[in-house]
């Protein structure tokens, strides 16, 4: 693992070469096969849950193709921030059209579209044509959580790789390696706790590790880990959930408006977090959680159909307020 001047550990310990990557052997092998003859590499679609190494793989490919100058040959866009058709028509089209082969020995330029399942339908349709016409000069790596949200014509133009949850022991080992490098003693049960709470999301795990290290130098024990996860979990969402479940609709709705107002969360983002937090509420039975999950799902769907997310969220909270009575 080569050190560098990065400060956030997620970046500092992000693998630089495909060989450094933990626990993705089958994916890494097929990609290395492509890279032996770069022209044979098709467009790639990397799909899977967050924190499993999709972006890392894409960045490694860029480095292996272009060496240190990878940034000049790569356009990295986060589709959830720039997801409209204009981005596709302007930035992507321009970048993909011009051959950069004259500079150095790069075979083509690379376009990495992170969170591409957030792209609008029209944007995806516009992209499809560009992928075809520019295949002489560029390659696309599309990264997404759900490949089903990518339109079929694009899927059929890509080699698809699915990233599943990372193996727990591999994650524990990785965390320990980082701890060693940072001169920390990471106790076994603390490492396991982090991995357990991160649910296969390595980015989350590494962030948590760095945060615990801010609490305490030297030894990291289970106690500190629990403290960090307690503080870093979306407290406001938790509070809102609890207020609603205890029947206090008005307070719950006030918190909902805080989430929208102060943090600028979208309706679907709040619903997603409610779902995540619901599973952690201690005083509900599994069948109650299932029932509430069903309700969340219904309103998540209505959110996509309706005109106004405030209303759907309020309605959802009202159902929760009734639930306990």
């Amino acid at each position: 693992m080569n050190l560098n001047d990065e400060v956030m550990w997620v970046e500092k310990y992000r693998p630089r070469t495909l060989n450094d990557i933990v626990d993705l052997n089958h994916i890494v092998e097929s990609i290395q096969a492509f890279l032996k003859n770069p022209h044979s590499m098709p467009h790639l679609l990397l799909s899977g849950i967050p924190g499993t190494g999709k972006t890392t793989v894409a960045l490694c490919i860029a480095r292996e193709l272009f060496g240190d100058k990878w940034k000049s040959f790569t356009l990295e866009l986060n589709a959830s921030d720039e997801r409209g058709i204009n981005t596709v028509r302007d930035r992507i089209k321009d970048f993909s059209r011009y051959s950069r082969t004259g500079f150095g020995d790069a075979p083509y330029s690379l376009i990495i579209l992170d969170e591409s399942d957030q792209m609008t339908g029209p944007a995806q349709t516009a992209l499809r044509r560009i992928m075809e016409t520019s295949s002489r000069t560029s390659r696309f790596i599309l990264i997404c959580n759900y490949s089903s949200k990518i339109i079929e014509p694009i899927q059929s133009r890509c080699a698809i790789f699915r990233f599943s949850k990372l193996d727990k022991t591999a994650m524990v080992e990785h965390l320990k390696k980082i701890a060693q490098n940072e001169n920390l003693r990471l106790l076994d049960e603390a490492a396991e706790r982090i991995v357990e709470y991160s649910e296969g999301d390595l980015r989350h795990a590494i962030n948590a590790l760095q945060t615990t290290a801010a609490y305490q130098t030297g030894v990291i024990d289970e106690q500190t880990v629990l403290q960090v996860f307690g503080e870093a979990s979306p407290r406001q969402v938790q509070l809102m959930l609890n207020k609603a479940l205890s029947g206090n609709f008005i307070e719950a709705r006030k918190m909902m408006y805080d989430l929208i107002g102060q943090y600028g969360f979208s309706g679907s983002e709040i619903v997603r977090q409610m779902q995540r937090e619901l599973l952690k509420v201690p005083h509900l039975t599994d069948s109650e959680k299932a029932e509430l999950t069903d309700i969340i799902g219904e309103y998540d769907y209505r959110l996509t159909q309706g005109a106004n997310s405030d209303i759907q969220l309020s309605a959802l909270l009202a159902q929760f307020s009734k639930f306990r009575k």
């Binding site: 990065e6 400060v7 956030m8 997620v10 970046e11 967050p50 972006t55 986060n78 589709a79 959830s80 921030d81 992170d114 969170e115 957030q118 980015r203 989350h204 962030n207 760095q210 801010a214 609490y215 503080e231 870093a232 979990s233 979306p234 407290r235 406001q236 969402v237 029947g247 609709f249 008005i250 709705r253 408006y257 805080d258 989430l259 929208i260 107002g261 102060q262 943090y263 600028g264 969360f265 979208s266 983002e269 977090q273 309103y299 209505r302 159909q305 309706g306 005109a307 106004n308 405030d310 209303i311 759907q312 309020s314 309605a315 959802l316 009202a318 159902q319 307020s321 009734k322 009575k325």
Partner: protein, 409 residues
Amino acid sequence: MKNDLLWVEKYRPKKISEVLGNELAKTTFINWLNNKRRRKKAVLLYGPAGVGKTALVNAASNQFNFTIIEMNASDTRTEKAINKVGKPATSFVALDKFSTETKGNILFLDEVDGVFGQQDRGGIGAIIKIVKESLIPVVMAANNPDIKKLRPLKKVCQMIRFQQVRIPLIITMLRRICVMENVEAEFEALERIAQNSRGDMRSAINDLQSISEGRPVLRVQDTMFLSYRNKDIGMYETIMGVFSAESVRDAAMILNRSSVNYDDFLLSISDNLPLRYPDSADLAHAYDLVSRADVFRGRVGTENWHLLRYFFNLLAEAATVSPRSFKPFEVISPPIRIMKLFWTKSKRTKLENICAKIALKCHVSRTTAKTDIVPFVKIILEKQKSSPIISWLKLEPNDVDYLIKINKF
């Protein structure tokens, strides 16, 4: 019966005392008018139609010898037209101010909520400018002060609110007219006319005139064909109306008559729902219907207008989940969301900026930065005030302060 004049014109008040009702508004207006050192150079009289706004202005100027320069909705009111009348009128003090007969001019802009659209472009802006520079009192009247375009006006005007005229006062007025016109009327007939007018003096007088046409004696059965004028019902009335309706049918009828903006109304219903249904089962049920109404609103989009009827019916159902439990309550307005978003706009922008910095460095989207990384960065900064992360993320000192102070979410 000599009927060469409309009674509303004939019996228009000549003196302030003849304007009935709205005593508080009257006193406020008179005090403003007679105060040489008035704090605001303009007043905006607002309230429903036919309650005496224009009548008061005319009566007052008559009594105190002001000369009125008037523009109403029948005049074109572009910026140019307003300046043409308003500018000369307001930038000089009339010569005859020094004579004893008159106290000077008033610029009276009636029906300012009718300054609209393409035809009256720049009108409101011109009015504000005139108000600011005016040397003479400017009086404006409007029905609905909440129209978006009028909002800037509120800042430069003293607002005087008029309410519906109370029924007994309307009856008094109608009786007075009957005496003058030699009409013999049953009390119940006048009562019915007054009630039917719902506080609109002008429509009551008009009704009286049309019914008593050719009838020397006015009986209660003569008034039977009177029907409610289809009044434009505003947001407040619509909400109170649907919530107090006894059945879905009544609620739907009120919705049909109302001219409120659907989307505003939907939000307003949602804001007020918990006040209407203290019982959580009722509330959940009503919210489910409102949520389905919103789904239909989404499907209506900009083309499938025929779907709107389902939207209305669902809302009507939501408003009448348990008609028996209705108790009067204070309506929330303006919408909570708008208030909240207004107050927190700067905070939000700040957080967005920080997230953009993180997103750039950590190869994630701004949303992921907000949900997955900010919580951790916040704790690290709390613990290590001079963490190298600060310079690495290029955070400004006030970004750091902000992250430390922000509530946990």
